[in-house]
């Protein structure tokens, strides 16, 4: 938060206390609970880690300009330096209430919104309102899903070689690859998705878009068609739910208790995920 007043405003709004953070980073915290039951900490006066040495982005030769002469393109075959946490994608059966909650408290702006065929918003790429300072295309993604959950988080690396060599290292270590390398359309990141031993997805990305506060929201259909410009074929398993007994029970519960989560919505979503990615092929 920009000031302690922000913490005070959030604490008053949600009727919670301001606590001192005992752990690393210190500072003060207001601990909120979103409509899905996820804990959201708002922080102020954190002590940031000291800068650590990181490699610079590689120089690229173009037809017009040769900046690398008598020198090969060699990035180290090591895990990439992670420059920053870029975004997290959250799944929710109550998209409308969740959007309202995050936008009201954190001032998020939707950069791009994906809608069902009847025009209902179903997924939003939200960025922070930094005024004239550019913010990532999205930092918090909220997407409609039968059950609440974590979808993935994404970490920025220096350049395309860091994404590529990062893939080599994770492959060599025997980790589970999910999808990539490719370039997204909305946000434009060059991406590569991996999952850890528990099936949690983590993304390396480079060269993403940034926007200032005055950029207007874009609206697009929700479908696999709009996911990427080029790269490895989209694996259907990427967004396919793991249908367990508890998944079915929670879905039925959500259909009965959340007014905006309807059978009609589920049907429209299933229809749209079946569309062909990259229709020009």
């Amino acid at each position: 938060m920009k000031s302690r007043e922000d913490l005070e405003a959030l604490a008053a709004n949600d009727k919670v206390t301001i606590d001192t953070v005992d752990g690393p980073g210190g500072g003060e915290r207001v601990r909120l609970t979103d409509p899905n039951g996820f804990t959201v900490d708002a922080l102020f006066n954190r002590t940031l880690q000291t800068e650590q040495p990181m490699r610079k982005a590689r120089a690229h030769n173009t037809p017009e300009e040769k900046v690398r002469i008598n020198q090969g393109q060699r990035a180290p075959l090591t895990p990439p330096d992670i420059a920053r946490l870029g975004h997290v994608a959250v799944l929710t059966p109550d998209f409308e209430t969740s959007m309202e909650w995050y936008k009201t408290r954190l001032g998020l702006i939707s950069t791009d919104v994906l809608c069902l065929d009847d025009g209902t918003p179903a997924l939003a790429f939200n960025r922070f309102d930094r005024g004239e300072h550019p913010a990532d295309h999205h930092s918090i993604v909220l997407g409609t899903y039968p059950v609440k959950g974590y979808e993935h988080s994404a970490f920025e690396v220096h350049d395309l070689d860091a994404v590529g060599l990062g893939q080599q290292v994770l492959k060599q270590k025997g980790h589970k690859h999910e999808w990539g390398i490719g370039r997204h359309i909305l946000g434009s990141q060059v991406f590569d998705y991996w999952s850890d031993q528990d099936g949690f997805k983590f993304e390396h990305y480079a060269d993403g878009d940034v926007y200032t506060a005055d950029y207007e929201t874009g609206y697009h259909p929700l479908s696999t068609q709009g996911l990427y410009q080029w790269g490895q074929d989209f694996p259907p398993t990427f967004t396919k739910p793991h249908i367990s007994f508890s998944f079915i029970l929670e879905t039925i519960h959500n259909l009965r208790t959340i007014p905006s989560f309807t059978f009609k919505k589920v049907k429209l979503m299933i229809a749209m995920t079946g569309r062909k990615a990259r229709p020009w092929l």
């Binding site: 708002a42 946490l85 954190l106 009847d118 209902t120 990062g166 359309i185 259909p221």
Partner: protein, 89 residues
């Protein structure tokens, strides 16, 4: 070729309006926190992914990202859900 990367909607979308006066305007995302059963396995994945392990005990694993606050910890305790944190500059 008349394909476009950008698709168009068949109907007018229901707009997602901005909130006129939000309670705050957050500046950045600070960290994520997960409940994980095996911190050694988690540390191995995180190292291969590129994180620096800042602290590992029986109870928690902290990863650091240069230039940011410590960002990603896992607790051995079974937290119900992941936690996200937001900070300003």
């Amino acid at each position: 070729m008349d394909f476009s990367l950008e698709e168009t909607l068949p109907v007018d979308p229901r707009k997602v309006d901005r909130i006129a006066s939000p309670v705050t305007k957050a500046w950045d995302i600070a960290y994520l926190r997960f409940a994980k059963p095996d911190l050694n396995e988690q540390a191995a994945f995180f190292k291969d992914f590129g994180f620096i392990i800042a602290e590992q005990t029986d109870e928690r694993l902290m990863c650091a990202v240069p230039g940011q606050a410590p960002i990603s910890s896992s607790s051995k305790k079974r937290l119900k859900q992941p936690i996200w944190g937001w900070v300003s500059r």
